[in-house]
Amino acid sequence: MGSSVRKVLKENEKKKPKKTDNKRWASPLVFLLLFIVFFVLLAWYFLFMRNADTMYFMQDRGWWNSTSIFWKDCTRLPGGFLAWAGAFLTQFFYYPALGTALLIVLFLLSFCLAKWSFKVPDEWSFLIFIPLTALLCSDIQLGYWVYILRDIDYVFYHPLGLFAALLLSAPFWNFLPVNEKAKSRIAWAWIPVVAALFYYPLGVYALLAAALVAVRTSWKSLLILVPTLGLVPLLETSGTTLMRPDQPWLYGFHKFILDDLRDYSLEIPFYIVLVAPLFFPFIKLIKTKKLWQSQGIMLGVAAAVLSCLLIRDFTDYNFHAELRMQRGVEECRWNDVLREAAMVKGPVTREMVMFRDIALINRGELCSKRYAYNNESIPPVTVSDSIHIRICDQAGDLIYYNYGETIFGIRRAIERCMHYGYSYYTLRVLTMCAIVNGEMDNARKYLRLLNRTVFQKKWAKEMQRFVDDETLMLTDDHFRMPLRLYNEGSELVGVDDKYVELTIMNKWMYTITNDPEAQEVALGCAMIMRNQQCFWSQVQQFYNINPGKYFPIHVQEAMLFGVYELKMEGINLSFVKFDQRVVDRYQAFFERLNQYSKQGLNEKQIGAALRPEFGDTYMWDYCTLREVQTN
């Protein structure tokens, strides 16, 4: 009995280490779960909290609709199903939180699939997140490239592709009731089959799936893989008329090319997405002698993931502000646009200036508040020097529309569609232009298409009211001012040479109109362009149509400046009612200017010194900001 008890105790002693084993087993899982939580939080933070405006914008410049035409358009090229499905899912960034959640779910599904498929042990499963991090980087790194992406499906195309490749390479044949030899044969046969069957729906990701099957099988399978990768794209695209002969092998791989420039750095994530999964089958072969080794590497990878995301995140303030202001203009949230303009600390882009001016025009404050905002301009800061972004490629059409230049708006919208594809945004602009022009059949066409989308139906329904009853335009913020400017603008013929701002200013400063609101725009443009002849003509016209009314503050400043500083001859200001505060500030400005000048300060220093007190005046703008830079 005693011996048997001792035996049992001994056996229990033997079992003790098993408890330790359990700990060892649990520990990697806990760390893995922590890593997953870490990744999910990072994805949420970078996609939603830092880049919600960019993600919304990317969906807005995307295009999906439920017509068979769109389906055929997508599926006539390799990767067609991914393009269609990617475009469909990208729509969900209409609500950035929803889109982000969907993308994270897809990432997690890919992770689970890879872990299961390649039997990746818990302690090394964090390595699967490397390509997923690359995908995350690809969404937040773009900066101004978002304006010129032709891919309507950019955000979801590659995550879906990776998921599909993992799914198609999963060893489902192991479940078949056949012997090992037969399973091996099936795996070999699956390599060309998966490539051939799925090349058109999945493009380069079908080839990745074939490669994954090969690397998980044996090195001998390369004998099948190599000819498969060479021949399948070649044969399947032999009849296509939609691509160059050099393109089939990497069709769907995103290249950042504009004219003769190519930004390879932005392509790095996609190389990682295509190459990293090929190492998944080998992760299980890593021998873990001590757990802290894998945990240490996990921490290193976590730090690297965070660093990559921080480095790749495009944080330029103006870029994000432009996106928000554009949306504000489209939604007629003039106060939000002006709030955004007031918050900017440094120099602004010309597009921001134009969005702000549109908000001021709609509030009737162009000539009374414009110079209270920063007009110091810089060109857009691009992620690399490889692209030169111009307003006409950004939101030139929307800006034209808001100045009543609907024909130029249509021209720029269609031109951009030709270069970068149709989008919800473009169709909305085209719709509004068509409504203002009275081209209702054309507007109906665009509304029909927008009605076939998921999130644009509401907008389309709202616009249908104006198609059915044009008089509603007179009181609606979307149309009131553009229609007024369209009606009051002169009919000319000309070209814009891609200079949106100059074209608008040059037209309006010469436009003589009896409409008070449109005339204030003309007067404002003459002031912006600093054309004295036009300015005084517009001043005269303002006086003619607003007898007895005070001139707006900036106009008063500009008149004093014109007569006393620029020495305009033949101007009689006796008929003008000046605000005494304006006169006092004007005098103080020049007293201070002369004072600083005598102190030997240079022009830049004088400008900086005067800014706190006089930075909101026309005089300061004129004397300090020498040139109107436009792009």
Binding site: T241, R411, I414, Y486, E491
Partner: protein, 496 residues
Amino acid sequence: MLKRLFSFSLLICIVAACSKHPSVPSSFTETNMPASIFPDYVDVTVPPNIAPLNFLVDDVDDVVAEFKFQDSKVLFGGRDNKVQIDEKEWKELLSSARGKSLSVKVYTKKFGKWLAYNPFSIHVAEEEIDPYISYRVLPPTFVGYDELSIRQRNLTNFDESIIYNNRQISQGLEGQCINCHSYQNYGTDNMMFHMRMQNPGTMIVYNGELIFVNLKDESMISAAAYNSWHPFLPIIAFSTDHTMQSFHTRDISKVEVMESASDIIIYDVKQNRVQTILNDSLELELFPSWSPDGKWLYYCSAHYEYQKGYEDTTELLDQYRVLQYNLYRLSFDLETRTFGEPELVYDAVSRNRSAVQPRVSKDGRYLVFAEGPNGLFHIWHTSAEAQMLDLKTGELVDTKVMNSPLPESYPSFSSNDRWIMFESRRDDGNYTRTYFAYFDKQGKVHKAFEVPAEAPEFFRLFLRSWSRPEFMKEPVRITPRQFSEKALTEPIPVSK
């Protein structure tokens, strides 16, 4: 027995559910109104070999159309708001109704109630239409050419294929512009089109063989542009021109295209030789077009004298309204291959109009052309219309019935003269579509109809234009790959 009866009833139900023919609603209300269908096929005359005229009715839940000819009738529709006709049955229907008329009665269902509309007719002509057309497919762009293709469509069914797509050898902003496809006498063994920018040159198919030529030398003001094959000789007439465009700020015509200088040349395909025919510096000659007998070269020309005495695009921009074209012709001696003096054929300027793109009927009696307020790109002019001149009487034929308040342009005759094809923007004002009108032996033009589409809403949703349609008796046989491979070779220069 009960089981058998049940099975039989089930079978009937399944057959009825799967049937492509709906039935006439058991109860409906007569409206005494014509049905409003898209595309508008009400009372049109169609060729006996045309593809099914599928259509839809807006804002209804269901539609059934009863096609009736003499004692036989067949019903289509019954699936949402579209009527899509079986191709085989349609052909049988047209074949039996050739030279006569079909009656179509439309029933629509909304909120569970059926309405019946007054029947309309579809007249089936005796004469067939050429089985193929080709056209350029592109967004209604002004400058860009990233996405262009020349396609061909079989009019007897819905088959469409690509002749050439510019994405085969170039992509993106550095794309390739392709334009001005044309054929010799409706055949495709001799045909051509131009390529611009990337790999520029003129792609010519001569007796089935591909030739890639650089149709530009120092004597020409530009590379060859608008063209016309001689009906049987291996020569092509071209205009060469300096093209420019300018945009309106309010006018919904949107754009004015102008030629600040233009001449007419002929190119001998066999000899690879160019010869200038018209180069009067005070005349802007354009759109050469051979008569089907090959003895006349029609063209249009605008008289313009630059104030400065030399080509000045800025001046012309201001004068775009006065730039109006008349129609002229030159006699051509087939033996000596020499041309006579210009003869005025149609004085559009005296009517304060501008006539361009002339095409002569095979019998030589009629001339169709596009007429607008000014300039040459009438597809942008809302008042532009397809016109027809009776060369025998010098009178205009009444073409109101085939025109619309929106632009019409680029008319041409089918090879048997009985069908006029033109492009129109009547659908929505901005996207160009192809229309056909019957032109009967008595010289009367009939109501036009849109090229049939398999999905009736296709042209409403399609965001690209079909421009510059050309009739063909047969499809192009050279493959897109053959064209693209040739385009990658160096074009041969022309000799003087």
